[in-house]
């Protein structure tokens, strides 16, 4: 198949990229592997404050995340614009709470809040009394929290479908295939899939953790790795949890969708079973993740978990990878560094603007793949 522009990866980044490119008037083919891909398994947290999980597990990447904080805030705002333009995504931006259970954790949050404030984030520290007013469901052991008013949540199932519909309306051709290699020639780029070949004048690689392997055939080593993460969802109850909830020291995100269901996740591991099998769920993850949620929010204890799943997060060096490959023509990268769903609209719009030559919504130069050049 031949087209103007090719987007590899049909997750949220690929869909928004295809939408932006088609909106600019290009003929676009979107190729997605469909099995166990990077996205469409996301839980819909809009992260802005630094996740304690990330700082703990990837301390060496933390400075990259901290530098990018204003850009997380801008991305969360992009979601509001997208919803206004494409239709209901159950977006709620009432902020995010990071709970503390000890004076030591509170001190950590104070220092974190101070640094985040210098990056322009709207943060505040809440004591127990203030917390009781906004989150009367918290467990008795919680001493306080950091509130980041920039955070929020949305229903990714709705957002994914709104984007898929928008792409279809603009004539984007969606193909299910796994692209295994790229060849760049003087006048075009060719992608070899398991089912077909795709030729275009430029390609955007939005293949999350698979992006590194895809461009390795072009001689660039980008260390994207899959990080399979576990998630749980309950049956519905009345609306009572407004915030995106996290913990100062332990891995958890907890939020309530407009459907009334509570989604519990936040970085518990799942088992990677390869590209053509769904990831496996670990006993320790469902038990540990859900028990922690029950301690933080005891009234949810009577609800039942009805489903779990795992999605693939992507890790590289903590910063997004956006822009042209060094020394290679016609290949533009669009890979969020962390919190892929939150950053998706901004990463996609920046990558699309590099292809179309229009003004980017933010300066992409700090995220250039040039940093991976040998």
């Amino acid at each position: 198949m031949t087209t103007d522009l090719l987007v590899i990866g049909g997750g949220i980044v690929g869909r928004i990229t295809a939408f932006e490119l088609a909106k600019a008037g290009a003929r676009v083919i979107l190729v997605d592997a469909a099995q166990n891909a990077g996205s469409t398994a996301n839980a819909g947290s809009l992260h802005v404050q630094m996740q304690s999980r990330f700082i703990r597990i990837y301390p060496e990447h933390a400075p990259n995340v901290e530098r990018a904080l204003p850009y997380y805030k801008q991305a969360a705002e992009c979601w509001g614009t997208l919803e206004a333009c494409l239709g209901d995504m159950h977006l709620v931006r009432k902020g995010g709470l990071m709970l503390a259970e000890s004076a030591g954790q509170m001190a950590f949050l104070e220092e974190k809040a101070r640094r985040e404030e210098t990056k322009g984030l709207d943060v505040a520290l809440l004591d127990r009394a203030e917390l009781d007013r906004v989150a009367p469901w918290i467990g008795p052991q919680i001493v306080g929290a950091e509130l980041c008013r920039d955070e929020g949540k949305l229903n990714p199932l709705l957002a994914n479908m709104q984007l898929a519909k928008a792409c279809a309306d603009l004539g984007v051709t969606c193909v299910t295939d796994r692209v295994e290699g790229l060849v760049v020639t003087a006048d075009r780029v060719s992608a070899a899939g398991q089912k077909g070949h795709y030729r275009a004048s430029e390609v955007v690689v939005a293949a999350s953790w698979g992006s590194g392997a895809l461009v390795r055939t072009l001689g660039i080593d980008i260390p994207t790795a899959p990080e399979p993460l576990h998630m749980n969802i309950t049956e519905a109850c009345d609306q009572r949890i407004d915030h995106l909830v996290q913990h100062a020291e332990r891995s958890i995100t907890l939020k309530q969708f407009k459907t009334g269901q509570i989604v519990i996740g936040g970085g518990w591991p799942a088992d990677d079973h390869g590209t053509d099998q769904v990831p496996g769920v670990r006993a320790g993850s469902i038990v540990g993740n859900v028990a922690l949620a029950a301690r933080l929010a005891p009234p949810i204890g009577a609800l039942r978990i009805i489903r779990t799943w795992a999605g693939m997060n992507t890790t590289a060096d903590g910063a997004s990878i956006i822009g042209r490959l060094p020394g290679v023509q016609r290949v533009v990268m669009a890979v969020p560094g962390d919190a892929g769903y939150t950053l998706a609209p901004l990463v996609a719009q920046m990558a699309a603007s590099i292809v179309t030559g229009r003004d980017p919504p933010a300066d992409p130069s700090p995220y250039s793949p040039a940093r991976f050049a040998a």
Binding site: P140, V287, V290, P298, P299, G301, R304, I306
Partner: protein
């Protein structure tokens, strides 16, 4: 019999001790138990804890299954609304109760296959723990009565098996909800809020089957239930599902239950069998009587008994719609010969074959192949009924439909084999059981050739027909979702929410998998169906909390 009293939405209800809430409420003429997010009433459907449609709130605890909850004196039962209030009590539950078990053989399921396996493994000298979801063992075939009384030879035979299993020295734990199965093997379960953690040497999965519904407009209306649900109401709780009943679908269970309900005093307005009359296929009938003369004779005797009671039995009628009318339900069939046939009733029972409860097997990675004749997956097994996963055995209908006599023979073989694998007995001389098993399998093959359990392709249904009961997703929604993001069943699920509800896709999943292959032209395989996931049944967060401490101190 002791009488008990409880309230439902403030009204006093009198029931017999031992009855399920579903039976007690049905006996009191109540059939709407919950209201969905879109405002539709729902009641009993599967009667066996699978569909999650009969939810009620009990003493302030939301989402309890009325069919699996025993009615108790003084209970406050309320209609379950879609968005229950959680209250504001922020205290953690009391120190959770936990039991850790490490048997040689864990048997999952207390039906024909599970009880037979229990007895065989125990007699070989193994330490056996058997878990059953229901409060009385016997499973769906031997369906025991709550008060211990015996209705007929089938119940008496089951009572004998239950007695033998209890006397065997195995520990049989009833009322257990298994929600997790992991490599190890490690099995996680809940009983009355307490956690069970089981690390067995071998596992015999004997989880049986649930009924395949007939998906048509109106199949979610209160009063429409599976034939097995109606049978449980009558056989276990002596409660009739209604006064005037239509039974439809295909297979021998429909005739049997129609006869039982007629004997119980119900008016059976019609028994509608999808397949043409067996007398039009004398060869198939002859084959059946060769492979199982006694059972074939039983079938003919049932037919005669129904005729004697003037119950109309009609072949070649396929259910096409159910509507709510003033007098109850208006049930419409399409005749094979053309035209329609409409009957009024207050209850409709449906059974169009069975779906194996193979969730635990699939979770543990047991290899499956699709059986086009039965329309469902079959678990690959060795001569000793071990699956492709070492130490995991499968017996009975959970491995693919085979009927209760086959399940018993399989249970005996697997019980002795699992015991031998954990160091007890030698499991030699399985010849007699294996020969019996071959005979039962030949009979089953002949039996199902007389029936028609081929699922109706849902793509041709009116677009406003509910496909996913839980999430209230219609056939039209599914087709529209497929059009936007074509792909596999997982893609359709994420596009439309089909299969995302409490029954975890057990009813819509097989139908939606067929909808996909109608479009792709691919053959059905294990991968065509929803990926297996924990929890295998919804599990309360507090029950997981209870499991956590024991698991953490364990590791």
């Amino acid at each position: 019999m002791t009488e008990i009293n409880f309230t439902f939405d403030g009204d006093g209800i009198t029931a017999t001790d031992g009855q399920s809430l579903a039976a007690a409420l049905t006996g009191a003429g109540r059939r709407e138990f919950r209201v969905t997010a879109q405002g539709s009433p729902r009641g009993i459907f599967c009667g066996m804890g699978v569909c999650q449609d009969c939810l009620v709130s009990v003493d302030g605890t939301p989402n309890r299954r009325a069919c699996m909850t025993k009615a108790a004196d003084g209970m406050t039962v309320e209609t379950q609304h879609a968005f229950p209030e959680l209250g504001t009590d922020s205290r953690l539950p009391e120190t959770p109760r936990v039991r850790v078990l490490t048997p040689d053989v864990l048997v999952i399921g207390g039906g024909a296959g599970g009880l037979s396996a229990t007895i065989a493994a125990r007699r070989a000298g193994a330490d056996v723990v058997t878990l059953d979801e229901r409060t009385v063992e016997g499973g769906q075939y031997y369906k025991q009565s709550a008060d211990g009384s015996l209705l007929d030879a089938q119940q008496a035979e089951g009572a004998g098996l239950v007695e033998d299993a209890r006397a065997s020295g195995a520990e049989i734990i009833r009322g257990v909800e298994i929600w997790g199965a992991f490599d190890g093997p490690l099995v996680l379960a809940e009983r009355d809020g307490a956690a069970l953690i089981i690390r067995p040497r071998t596992v015999i999965v004997a989880t049986g089957a649930y009924e395949r519904p007939i998906i048509v407009p109106g199949w979610t209306l209160p009063g429409v239930m599976t034939t097995g649900a109606a049978q449980t109401l009558w056989r276990s709780y002596r409660t009739l599902p209604g006064r005037r009943i239509v039974v439809c679908g295909s297979g021998p269970l429909n005739m049997q239950v129609a006869l039982e309900l007629a004997d119980g005093g119900a008016e059976i307005a019609l028994v509608a069998e999808t397949a043409p009359s067996p007398f039009l296929h004398p060869l198939r009938g002859a084959r059946l009587s060769i492979h199982g003369p006694a059972l074939a004779w039983q079938g003919l005797a049932m037919l005669r008994s129904l005729r004697r009671r003037r119950v109309p039995v009609r072949n070649g009628l396929r259910l096409s719609a159910v509507e709510e009318v003033e007098s109850g339900l208006s049930v419409t069939f399409r005749r094979k010969s053309g035209g329609t046939h409409t009957v009024q009733a207050d209850s409709l029972c449906m059974n169009a074959g069975f779906e194996p409860q193979n969730e635990i097997l699939r979770l543990l990675g047991a290899r499956m192949t699709y059986d086009p004749a039965a329309g469902h997956l079959r678990c690959e097994r060795s001569e000793t009924l071990e699956t492709s996963v070492p130490g995991i055995f499968a017996v009975g209908d959970c491995a693919g439909l085979g009927g209760a006599p086959a399940a018993c023979a399989e249970g005996r073989i697997a019980g002795r084999s699992a015991a031998a694998q954990s160091g007890h007995g030698d499991a030699y001389d399985l010849f007699a059981d294996q020969r019996a098993l071959r005979r039962h399998r030949r009979f089953q093959k002949a039996l199902w050739q007389l029936h028609d359990v081929s699922p109706t392709p849902v793509g041709g249904l009116p677009h406003d027909t509910i496909l996913c009961r839980c999430e209230e997703i219609t056939v039209g929604d599914a087709l529209a979702g497929y059009a936007v993001t074509p792909g596999h069943l997982g893609t359709l699920k994420r596009a439309t929410r089909v299969g995302m509800g409490r029954c975890q896709g057990r009813y819509c999943g097989p139908a939606a998998a067929r909808l996909i292959v109608e479009h792709t032209g691919e053959a059905l395989t294990d991968r065509s169906f929803f990926a297996p996931r924990v929890p295998v049944k919804p599990v309360a967060i507090n029950a997981i909390l209870a499991a956590e401490e024991a698991l953490c101190s364990d590791d």
